[in-house]
């Protein structure tokens, strides 16, 4: 695991602020963490972006914290952070946004975050349990590009507070990724992304999937489907080796959505989240199929930077089942996952 720690120190540090190119005003960067504990799911996103609002001074940046939790009921919010309280250290995993902070020290992530209006807070240490995965090139999105570094399974110790309840994290796992790049929300792209922490008896499996497309989902920009058995990455499928099949679509009547005020302007809940989602991949004799069965959904609404419309990210909690054969070994596993469907 020491080599993983070195890799994380080398590759997972903040990319921005950096000397800009013509698109430097579109910079975006975040650390994203999903925690799965018995009876609780938590999503945390600490992000800093170029401020593209017309009244913002040139070169200014805006920081926000997203916290969402589900324990049978959703709670959470997106909170802006005063720019005077933002401290970032390029090249290091060190982002401090007011009372919210993530850092990587002695082979572990330390994460503290707390909303100031809705009572939701997290204080955890996360230890990588898998070989990280970095997409070696930035992927085209809209008129820009996105980079990606992921640690698909981490062990977790610490606490989450939701409302009046304190959750000590026992038998909890986490997913972490770091995204950076330059694009504008509202440009011509969409994505589907997800991970699952699964088990077959004593053996743990971890999967990660992503597919980036144009808005109409007719042109594939990038796709990866990776599987880990224990801590080892055992297979990575890419692009045309991967097929996706939504099985029916949901027609939700009500969803938890943040920021709440923007929901007034976006009364439609969207119909692009499947009732079931199937991913199959084949490369030579190796093959795997995955089925996501959604359990609960919530939405993050992002004001487009290109127009007055809204990008909708639907976060889906669900059960994940996989079955397949890799290097002559048949396997099946099941567990929980979080998937994300982004539509602009």
């Amino acid at each position: 695991m020491q080599s993983n720690a070195r890799l994380i120190e080398e590759k997972n540090g903040l990319k921005y602020p950096s000397p800009g190119d013509a698109k430097s005003g579109w910079q975006k960067e975040w650390y994203h963490i999903c925690i799965q504990a018995p009876g609780l799911d938590l999503l945390v996103n600490l992000n800093v972006s170029s401020d593209t609002r017309p009244s913002a001074p040139a070169g200014s940046r805006v920081a926000r914290v997203v916290l969402m939790a589900h324990d049978g009921e959703w709670s959470g919010d997106i909170e802006p952070v005063d720019s005077r309280l933002v401290r970032v250290t390029p090249g290091e995993v060190a982002m401090c946004l007011g009372q919210n902070e993530i850092a990587f020290r002695d082979g572990k992530f330390e994460l503290v975050a707390a909303l100031q209006v809705y009572p939701l807070a997290v204080n955890v240490r996360l230890e990588p349990q898998c070989t990280p995965l970095g997409i070696t090139h930035e992927v085209s999105v809209g008129h820009g590009a996105i980079g990606w570094f992921a640690i698909p399974r981490l062990s977790v110790t610490g606490h989450v507070v939701k409302g009046d309840r304190v959750y000590p994290l026992v038998d909890a796992t986490a997913y972490h990724d770091h995204n950076w790049g330059h694009w504008l929300w509202g440009q011509d792209f969409s994505w589907e992304w997800g991970f699952g922490h699964l088990a077959d008896g004593e053996e743990s499996w971890t999967i990660m999937f992503d597919r980036t497309l144009n808005r109409a989902r007719t042109r594939l920009l990038e796709s990866t489907f990776a599987l880990w058995r224990g801590e080892m990455l055992v297979k990575m499928f890419s692009r045309n080796e991967i097929s996706v099949r939504p099985i029916g679509y949901q027609n939700p009547k009500k969803l938890f959505r943040i920021p709440r005020a923007l929901a007034i302007a976006v009364p439609e809940l969207g119909r692009d989240v499947p009732s079931q989602f199937e991913v199959t991949a084949r490369s030579g004799p190796d093959h795997v199929s995955l089925v996501l069965t959604p359990r609960s959904e919530a939405q993050i609404l992002i004001p487009n930077e290109t127009d007055l419309e809204t990008t909708i990210i639907t976060e889906v909690l669900g059960t994940v089942q996989i079955a397949g054969e890799i290097r002559g070994r048949l396997f099946t596993a099941a567990g929980r996952g979080v998937f994300e469907f982004l539509a602009t």
Binding site: R53, S55, P259, R260, A261, L262, I264, P267, L308
Partner: protein, 142 residues
């Protein structure tokens, strides 16, 4: 942009529109385009604000006789909508939000409201204004 602390609902509406015009003008002018030529009265807990809407701006006269659209609601309902405790449709159905006028005028007002929200979430000063509105609500309600 900084603003002086509004002390009543009329000042809140005026301040919000001024912020929008300065910080996200396209939303301001789309609001104007949708309600141009109309007069509107908004009653919030019995306090009235009057809007005389033109293509390039909204004016706030002291009073308007027979406005084209009358809207009535409460501070609590406005905050409940902002905090997603109630939707606009539910507020109307539950008798917490009234709108009276020609149907096409009311449709124009609803479109203007959507542009107001889309502009507000893109205007840097609105979080502070909303915080003031919450404090104002608490002080009036207590």
């Amino acid at each position: 942009m900084s603003f002086s602390q509004p002390s009543n609902i009329v000042e809140f509406v005026k301040t919000a529109m001024a912020l929008l015009r300065d910080e996200f003008p396209r939303a301001y002018f789309l609001i104007c385009a949708n309600v141009a030529g109309r007069t509107i009265s908004i009653d919030v807990d019995g306090k009235q604000v009057f809007l005389d809407c033109k293509v390039l701006g909204v004016q706030f006269p002291e009073g308007i006789e027979n406005p084209d659209v009358r809207i009535a609601t409460s501070r609590r309902t406005i905050l409940d909508a902002i905090d997603a405790r109630v939707t606009i449709e539910e507020a109307i159905r539950d008798g917490r939000l009234f709108a009276r006028g020609r149907q096409d005028y009311i449709t124009n007002c609803h479109t203007a409201l959507l542009f107001f929200v889309r502009g507000a979430v893109r205007s840097p000063s609105f979080p502070a204004l909303l915080q003031e509105f919450r404090r104002f609500d608490a002080s009036v309600s207590s």
